[in-house]
């Protein structure tokens, strides 16, 4: 009785959700195949072409529309995201590990860490910039000040993921290792880490993607050289051409590729996790 009303409503809700989630991307994709260089970023499609994709890679004859200045920005963003991913994940694993035992001030430290993802990004960015310029007196760079804000932002996510994973972790496996004469560090490398690896993978993914498209913090904290989101925003301010859409499609495909790698690695380690779950069922 209940489901006769509830089910269609929920189905409609999910349909709308998917529409709003993927609608912009579909429109973007269609427009990226607009004819060039005369065709603009609007319907109707004058003629289907891959002009704007070729233009991205400099494969078209020079025209009024300059190629996007994204090369350096893209590399900077990828390097920044990688650095952020490594540091945030290491910090996240270490601090979540620390939270397995209760310690004095644990809840205060918890909130201080989580604050990093709650504080408005613009404030963090502005604050970091002021701190660097006026108080410490150092230059702002994407790999210094912006990097610090990225870590402060993504570290809480990595931390929370690892906290959830370690919460379900069966301590007796580690104790078993110790009782076999294996020291705690080797135990972590040979037992704990392989078992929490799916979680580490998720934490890495979070940190990488959040850093890759971070805007407000980077805007103030990155100094002269721009990261990719800033560079894209910069081109919006002048005039929009379908080459941006083509670029958007390519970056989205890159993200999907990244997710697939994550999915494959996850599937491999889930098999392992299932073993652990079976073992816990006995207990």
């Amino acid at each position: 009785m209940e489901s006769r009303i509830l089910k269609p409503v929920l189905a409609l809700y999910v349909a709308l959700f998917l529409l709003f989630l993927y609608g912009p991307f579909v429109v973007l994709t269609i427009l990226s195949f607009q004819q060039g260089p005369e065709g603009g970023p609007q319907f109707p499609i004058i003629e289907w072409s891959t002009y704007w994709y070729r233009q991205l890679f400099g494969l078209t004859p020079p025209s009024r529309i300059a190629p996007l200045p994204f090369g350096d920005a893209l590399i900077r963003s990828l390097v920044l995201a990688l650095m952020t991913m490594v540091v945030s994940t290491v910090l996240g694993v270490m601090s979540a590990q620390a939270f397995r035992r209760r310690f004095r001030g644990a809840s205060l430290v918890f909130y201080l860490i989580v604050l990093g993802m709650m504080v408005p990004g613009v404030l963090t960015g502005l604050g970091t910039s002021l701190l660097a310029n006026n108080i410490i007196g150092i230059e702002r760079h994407w790999y210094t000040t912006a990097f610090a804000t990225h870590v402060a932002y993504t570290y809480p996510f990595a931390f929370l993921v690892m906290l959830a994973i370690l919460n379900r972790f069966d301590d007796s496996v580690e104790e078993a290792s110790w009782s076999l004469g294996v020291d705690p560090w080797t135990t972590f490398r040979k037992v704990t880490f392989p078992l929490i690896f799916p979680g580490v993978l998720s934490a890495m993914l979070f940190a990488f993607t959040l850093s890759l498209d971070e805007f407000p913090r980077t805007l103030f904290a990155s100094g002269r050289d721009q990261t990719l989101p800033l560079a894209i925003y910069g081109t919006f301010a002048v005039e929009i051409h379908p080459n941006i859409f083509a670029f958007g499609v390519l970056t989205t495909l890159f993200s999907f590729a990244l997710l697939s790698v994550y999915g494959i690695l996850m599937a491999l380690s889930v098999r392992r996790a299932r073993r652990l779950a079976m073992q816990e069922d006995i207990a």
Binding site: E175, A176, W178, G181, L195, R272, Q279, I282, A283
Partner: protein, 366 residues
């Protein structure tokens, strides 16, 4: 990890000794001044209800937890503050705690490979294969630990610990996760393995029959205290307190009053020439010492009028339950003594026993 020649070695026969171990969790006293000594090649089982501190005791001995007071001495060395991985004490967990990402072989070889054994890969391989063979898992070396049965996992857990040749192995309800049939078999195997290797086993269990069957000595725990230590026969025949009698789960217990060598309870007054000092007056009669008589029977032994409820067939014996004014009384009849009588439900009978075989506790005993 044997103590090297440079360590200060106190000559003593005991492999292992604990002195005044105390462990608190907030207001809860999980271990209260526990003192015990174990010789080489001894099998000691710890019996107690859940929450009695038996698992805490093992965890403190293993070094997973630090005692608030007291000392743990192992092979003549005070190891109270030595971290778990440097103690050389084996531990077998109730849930086995196998490494789920490793094969049977790698589980068994784990301690030798990653610890400080200093053995060559070939030596490790040989030693592990011997051990796997000994616990009857040959041919399973390359299986994942999710591809073997519960009993086989138990053996892997045991083999993993025993390859390190520890002098002391702690077993935390190691048979609790197995079904009854397997439990019986593993009991025998555990004993056989231990006798072959000459290792001291401390075995924690919540099952009184397991404790009595397996231990050379039984230690009964209650609320963090070791309340009785003795051979299984001593504990079974002479429980030191009403609590021990209660945990053994083999006694009908009656409250009442002990005075001048006789005990007055629900069954009237019975002579009690021998009694044990206790803060409570309790009269205990073993299940298999109870006799069921028709209501009309006459006897000079103590009797208790009770209504028959039901019976349980246990294979080698039959357990009958009677209701004596709200108090359930159990009577065990061994089938080897002859076919059981049949009783009628809700019918009253007289329960009787030999008062000399009763175990009496009382405050007035000096």
């Amino acid at each position: 990890m044997q103590p090297g020649p440079e360590d200060e070695v106190v000559v003593e026969t005991a492999v292992f000794r604990i002195e005044g171990l105390t462990r608190r969790y907030g207001d809860l006293l999980a271990l209260d001044n526990a003192t015990l000594e174990a010789g080489a090649n001894e099998y000691i089982s710890f019996l107690g209800p859940s929450g009695s501190g038996k698992t805490t005791l093992l965890r403190v001995i293993a070094g997973f937890e630090t005692p608030d007071a007291g000392r743990v001495i192992f092979q003549g060395r005070d190891v109270t503050n030595v971290p778990a991985h440097e103690r050389g004490i084996g531990f077998v967990f109730q849930n086995f705690a196998l490494f789920p990402h490793l094969t049977v072989m790698k589980n068994v070889a784990f301690g030798l490979t990653h610890g400080k054994s200093g053995l060559s890969a070939a030596d490790i391989d040989r030693r592990c294969r011997e051990m796997i063979d000994m616990v009857g898992l040959s041919g399973m070396e390359d299986r994942g630990v999710d591809q073997i049965s519960g009993g086989q996992r138990q053996r892997v857990a045991l083999a993993r610990t025993l390859t390190l040749r520890p002098r002391l192995v702690l077993l935390d309800e190691p048979l609790g996760a197995l079904d009854a049939n397997l439990r019986g078999r593993m009991r025998n195997e555990l004993r056989a393995i231990r006798e072959r290797l000459g290792v001291t086993f401390l075995h924690v269990t919540g099952s009184e029959s397991e404790a009595l069957a397996m231990g050379d000595r039984v230690v009964v725990l209650d609320r963090g205290r070791l309340i009785q230590t003795g051979t299984p026969a001593e504990v079974y025949d002479h429980p030191a307190s009403p609590d021990v009698a209660h945990f053994l789960n083999r006694f009908n217990m009656f409250d009442g009053k002990l005075s001048g060598g006789s005990f007055t309870g629900a069954f009237g007054t019975a002579p009690a020439p021998v009694a044990t000092r206790s803060p409570r007056d309790v009269y205990a009669v073993r299940y298999d010492r109870m006799r069921v008589l028709p209501l009309s029977a006459r006897t000079d032994r103590p009797t208790l009028k009770a209504r028959y409820i039901a019976s349980e067939y246990l294979g080698s014996s039959i357990m009958s339950f009677f209701d004596a004014e709200g108090h359930v009384v159990e009577v065990e009849h061994h089938l080897s003594l002859g076919a059981p009588e049949t009783y009628e439900t809700r019918q009253e009978y007289l329960l009787s026993w030999n008062p000399e075989k009763a175990i009496v506790f009382g405050r007035e005993v000096q």
